[in-house]
Amino acid sequence: MKKLLVSTAITMALMSTAAVADVAACLITKTDTNPFFVKMKEGATARAAEIGVSLKTYAGKIDGDHQSQVAAIETCIADGAKGILIAASDTKAIVGSVTQARDAGLVVIALDTPLEPMDAADATFATDNFLAGELIGKWAAAALGADAANARIGMLDLAVSQPSVGVLRDQGFLQGFGIDLGNPNKWGDETDPRIVGNDVTAGNEEGGRRAMENLLAKDPMINVVYTINEPAASGAYEALKAIGRENDVLIVSVDGGCPGVADVKDGVIGATSQQYPLLMAALGIEAIKTWADSGVKPAPTPGKAFFDTGVSLVTDKPAPGVPSIDTKEGTDRCWG
């Protein structure tokens, strides 16, 4: 009996050494509640199990919880991880901790949200948010045809602090629609009279409805609505429904979550740009493995400062000159 116990203990010790010999990696996301990051975690966990990477995941309590992310990076360094995938909450403040990790010999890949400056991370795996906006802008202009010249546009943005993802989508949309940008690094400084106004939604239904109502109070004849994401779009739709205008307003959005794609199918949203968090995370895990095995760092997509994980326009009313996929394909590839 004693022998058996001892040998079991030895076997277990050996097994755990084997596990330690695995490549260790960390995934740090903004929250554990947003389906986008939930999907990201799923993608990373699945790929890590496939290729023999032992993955630990961390998340902030709420979006903007910088403190937890710093603590997570410190834990990963102490843990002897080979690499970190991070969707940073505070893209400037996190740079100090990221540098610390890179000095300790870890490879750090920013997922979804570029750090400021971007080269603070070894690589960035993200959606081209400007392109995502541009696609829906082009589609909206094409769908309106000649009426695009007198469109009344409402812009439902993310937050007053103007995080880069919100600015890129907003400015991309305007450029795609054919509106002259002011400073491309901020929204709200355009002078085109077709823009009724900007309001902020916090990226959820409640905020989307309130922001839409505020803009409708300014001009009830808005007929094109840009939204930062699909929950905000669904809130905006409710506000339009309340005054009976849901059928004569074009709503466009970005994300490609499953409820969002279903809303495109039902005609709530005209078109949405779909991004691929699962792929982002899976590629990130592979990159860490490559770095650990061969010391090669991931390279950016040619012509861009980051590795582009792709974006597709989802709509059932394709417009000429704007490549898109239908909601069936969109549903197959949706997340959350």
């Binding site: 007053v160 959820n204 239904e205 409640e206 739709y237 809303d263």
Partner: protein, 353 residues
């Protein structure tokens, strides 16, 4: 002070007219203070009327339209209802940080019971309301029986209820069109009716009715007077025969029920069932209550004041947005209003000393 008194005063101090003026002034300010002490909803009501008029003058018919004014009512309906619940708790010198979490979790229960388990929607709504009441009662028992400070209790349950909400819902949103097809009762309070250009929702009507009912209960029933008594001085209330524990538990449970009702209204407003809504409802409700003139020290204030407080925030938010200012100005001004309201409260309280 009658005119006759004033004359005799002036006769006694023929050279010292300044002193008599000062006395007059003090007397007047005491009268005002006394009046405000007795009608605590007066200050917020005056602020509400003045701010509405000022925005009306600045913005003209755009703001002063039935459409915009009733829009404010729609926008504050949820915070307004939660503020009613918060008022009850604050009147007992407590505080409830978990109101928003109870609201969201209850709405998620109503939605998921219908869509995950296929229960009839009426049953699901009942379960949601019951769950809200239960969550409130847990707060009440921890405060009244275990005697923990309300701030700490609800700081804990806030996180517990919110985490349970995310775990249970799996962060899944139930889409508006599915609800409209299969369980329209969930969206009942989002239904609207028009009177001229004014648009009302049943949620707005519910908020107003709830406020009147609660105001009546607090003023004219024994339970209501006990709530004030417990908030003013729990020991004295206990000694004079009020069963303070029972009153406290009932207040927290009722607050939970009202939050669950707010959760139902929330589904109507946003169309869908979304576990990520209402994150700031607790802070917004406390803001409304404080601006509404309810004393955080308990025992003083009126529930109609809270309603005015919520409306003041709504008027400022929409008004400033229509003026076109940066939204940060709204927060800055609301912060000033809070400080001002508490300052006025302190000033009024001096009359009681």
């Amino acid at each position: 002070m009658t005119p006759g008194d004033q004359d005799s005063l002036a006769a006694e101090h023929p050279d010292d007219t300044v002193a008599s003026f000062e006395e007059e002034g003090n007397h007047f300010s005491n009268q005002v203070r006394n009046w405000l002490h007795q009608t605590p909803a007066a200050v917020p009501l005056i602020v509400l009327v003045i701010s509405t008029i000022v925005f009306g003058l600045v913005l003209g018919s755009k703001f002063f339209s039935p459409f915009a004014l009733t829009l404010i009512l729609q926008q504050v309906a949820i915070v307004g209802i939660v503020a009613l619940a918060q008022s009850l708790v604050i009147l007992t010198a407590g505080i409830d940080l978990s109101v928003g979490a109870i609201m969201v979790f209850s709405s998620v229960i109503m939605g998921q019971f219908t869509f995950r388990y296929g229960l009839p929607v009426e049953v699901s709504v009942f379960c949601g309301l019951f769950a809200g009441t239960l969550m409130g009662a847990i707060n009440g028992v921890l405060v009244a029986v275990v005697r923990l400070p309300p701030f700490i209790v609800t700081l804990g349950t806030w996180q517990i209820f919110l985490a349970a909400n995310f775990l249970y819902s799996e962060n899944e949103t139930i889409r508006g069109s599915d609800i409209a097809d299969q369980a329209p009762l969930l969206q009942f309070f989002g239904e609207k009716f028009k009177i001229g250009g004014a648009i009302f929702t049943y949620g707005v009507v519910l908020m107003l009715v709830l406020a009147v009912v609660l105001a009546y209960m607090l003023r004219y029933t024994a339970w209501g007077r006990h709530v004030y008594a417990v908030g003013d001085d729990p020991d004295a209330a206990e000694l004079s025969g009020v069963r303070t524990k029972r009153v406290l538990i009932s207040v927290y449970a009722l607050s939970g029920l009202i939050c669950a009702i707010a959760g139902w209204v929330l589904i109507g407003r946003i169309g869908s069932v979304s576990p990520t809504s209402g994150q700031l409802a607790n802070i917004e409700a406390i803001t409304a209550v404080v601006i509404g003139g309810i004393s955080l020290f308990g025992g003083r204030g009126s529930i109609l004041g809270s309603l005015c407080g919520a409306l003041i925030v709504g008027v400022f938010s929409l008004g400033l947005r229509m003026v076109g200012t940066d939204p940060q100005w709204t927060y800055l001004l609301i912060g000033l209003l809070i400080i001002l309201a508490v300052g006025i409260d302190q000033w009024i309280r001096k009359v009681a000393v």
